[in-house]
């Protein structure tokens, strides 16, 4: 246990040092939210990947391969990666139609009316805060169950380190540290997985699974197909609604935004799929983990020894921190850009940046306190929140591409999809609730707008944030 804590504290100190070093030139609120807005592909892709490869990804992907077989392994990679690849198209369009935006809130406020904006803002903040908590809860449980670090200590260490490096330079610190975190994750994955796979032997693994669990090799398994369908709605909904992706859409320079998102999306497909393949070794060899989410580190340790176990800790820990830091910074940026200027219209950029630093500490501390009771599981929370994500997919997509998208249609679609989604969630099943939410969002948006088409003037979006120097467009 002591060596695991030392790894965490050592890595944490390194990340804090890098975060503070990179924060040196950040002076304004704009820089705190977006950096310079001219991020390249290296840091842009790394910050996207580091945020989206969560602590859960590295453990739930093998879990889904272990329970759903080949469809679970490949499906997990595809559903998350497709959302990011599709966002590449959105990011290009976002730069075109709302070139001076900073957050998803800027788009929603200018494209629709107040009722849409506040509904979206409230539900988005619920989602972002929920996501932040899932990282804390998931991280604490993972570190306790697998790496024998007490839950409370794990949660306190996680949030303390995240708060310390995120508050220093905001987005710049988060994106810079993410580059080193993603390198650690990729090096560990590229070393551990092939080493373990070839030590057992690819043919032995296939033959073992075929003999012990042939159903895990079925390409038409119903559970796997449902996971693929619901997971697609979940992945796309989360990516399209999450301010973290919008922030990066603006933070990456315009000519690099498409390659950065496509590299990240395609790259993301490989990482959970690679880690997921470890589950087939457990199935082939008849290894049974004490808890199902421990399957990948268990295989790594049993086949490749304790060093592989420590490398896996580095993967999980880096993934966990980068996602928590991205969520914390996205939440702070949203409030700093969309709410604070309404109440402090005369605040200077330097004062707003100071508010940003304080909010990072406060939101991080609240998330830490809410995480300590451990009152729900990570996956339950993610699926619950994904019903909200599904409801906003089409108000966002149609709002960006279709001038006939009606303001009332967006509001009705979001409300009806959320209500029906949760009804199905509780009466039929959680994954079915996600699918229902996505479909209702699509049907209501398109039917309402065809019956009562709007004629939106794109110039309104092009003028967002250019009449003022303060975030949020406050005058």
């Amino acid at each position: 246990m002591l060596i695991n804590i030392m790894i965490i504290v050592g890595l944490g100190a390194l990340f804090i040092g890098i975060g503070w070093y990179l924060s040196g030139t950040v002076e304004t609120a704009d820089e705190y939210i977006l950096g310079t807005g001219r991020l390249g592909v290296a840091f842009g892709s790394a910050s996207l990947l580091a945020f989206w490869i969560t602590g859960n990804t590295t453990l739930a992907a093998p879990e889904s391969a272990y329970t759903m077989g080949i469809l679970g392994a490949v499906g997990y990679g595809l559903v998350g990666g497709m959302g990011v690849i599709l966002f590449a198209m959105l990011a290009r369009r976002i730069h075109e139609v709302i070139p001076h935006g900073r957050t998803v809130g800027d788009f929603y406020r200018a494209r629709y009316d107040d009722k849409n904006y506040y509904l979206f803002l409230v539900l988005l903040m619920v989602y972002v805060f929920g996501l932040l908590m899932t990282q804390g809860i998931g991280g604490g449980v993972i570190l306790e169950e697998i790496f024998e670090i007490p839950y409370t200590l794990a949660v306190v260490l996680t949030f303390s380190i995240v708060i310390l490096y995120t508050m220093a330079g905001g987005f710049r610190s988060v994106a810079g540290v993410a580059f080193f975190q993603i390198l650690l994750i990729l090096i560990a994955v590229a070393v551990i997985v092939p080493y373990v796979f070839f030590k057992v032997g690819p043919s032995n693994i296939y033959e073992g699974v075929l003999a012990n669990h042939p159903d895990k090799l079925d390409l038409l398994a119903p559970a796997g197909l449902l996971f693929l369908t619901a997971g697609t709605v979940m992945g796309i909904g989360e990516v399209f609604m999450d301010n973290t992706f919008w922030q990066r859409g603006y933070a990456i320079r315009r000519d690099r935004v498409t390659p950065a998102f496509i590299i990240s999306g395609i790259g993301w497909i490989f990482v959970p799929t690679a880690v997921g393949t470890l589950a087939f070794i457990a199935l082939a060899e008849g290894l049974e983990p004490a808890h199902i989410n421990q399957v990948a580190p268990m295989v790594a340790r049993q086949v490749a020894g304790p060093l592989a176990g420590y490398m896996f800790l580095v993967v999980v820990w880096s993934a966990l921190l980068s996602t928590a830091a991205g969520s914390l910074n996205a939440l702070t940026s949203l409030v700093l850009n969309d709410l604070i200027p309404r109440y402090k219209p005369k605040a200077t950029q330097v004062e707003l940046k100071r508010y940003g630093m304080w909010m990072t500490v406060i939101f991080g501390a609240i998330a830490l306190l809410l995480t300590l009771p451990r009152f729900l599981t990570m996956l339950e929370m993610l699926i619950f929140l994904a019903v909200i994500n599904g409801a906003f997919i089409f108000p966002i997509v149609f709002g960006l591409f279709w001038k006939r998208m009606n303001t009332n249609a967006a509001f009705t679609a979001a409300v009806v999809a959320t209500i029906v989604g949760y009804y199905v969630y509780y009466t039929v099943g959680s994954l079915q609730g996600l699918v229902a939410s996505g479909w209702i969002s699509f049907l209501v948006s398109i039917a309402y707008s065809w019956l009562q088409p709007a004629d939106f003037d794109w110039e309104i979006l092009r003028h967002v944030n250019i009449d003022t120097t303060t975030p949020g467009g406050a005058k």
């Binding site: 290296a42 990729l186 690819p202 033959e207 090799l217 690679a274």
Partner: protein, 40 residues
């Protein structure tokens, strides 16, 4: 319909090679953009 051995091993190897390629791409982009002063 069960997946055959060949495609099964191909998927596993592709995911590992893809992760390694991603690592190389990010490092190469970092070096290029660092030299061009286009990191930030």
């Amino acid at each position: 319909m069960l997946i055959d051995k060949g495609p099964f091993i191909f998927v596993a190897m592709l995911s590992v090679l893809g992760s390694a390629a991603l690592l190389i791409i990010l490092v190469l982009y970092f070096i290029y953009e660092f030299k061009q002063r286009e990191i930030w």
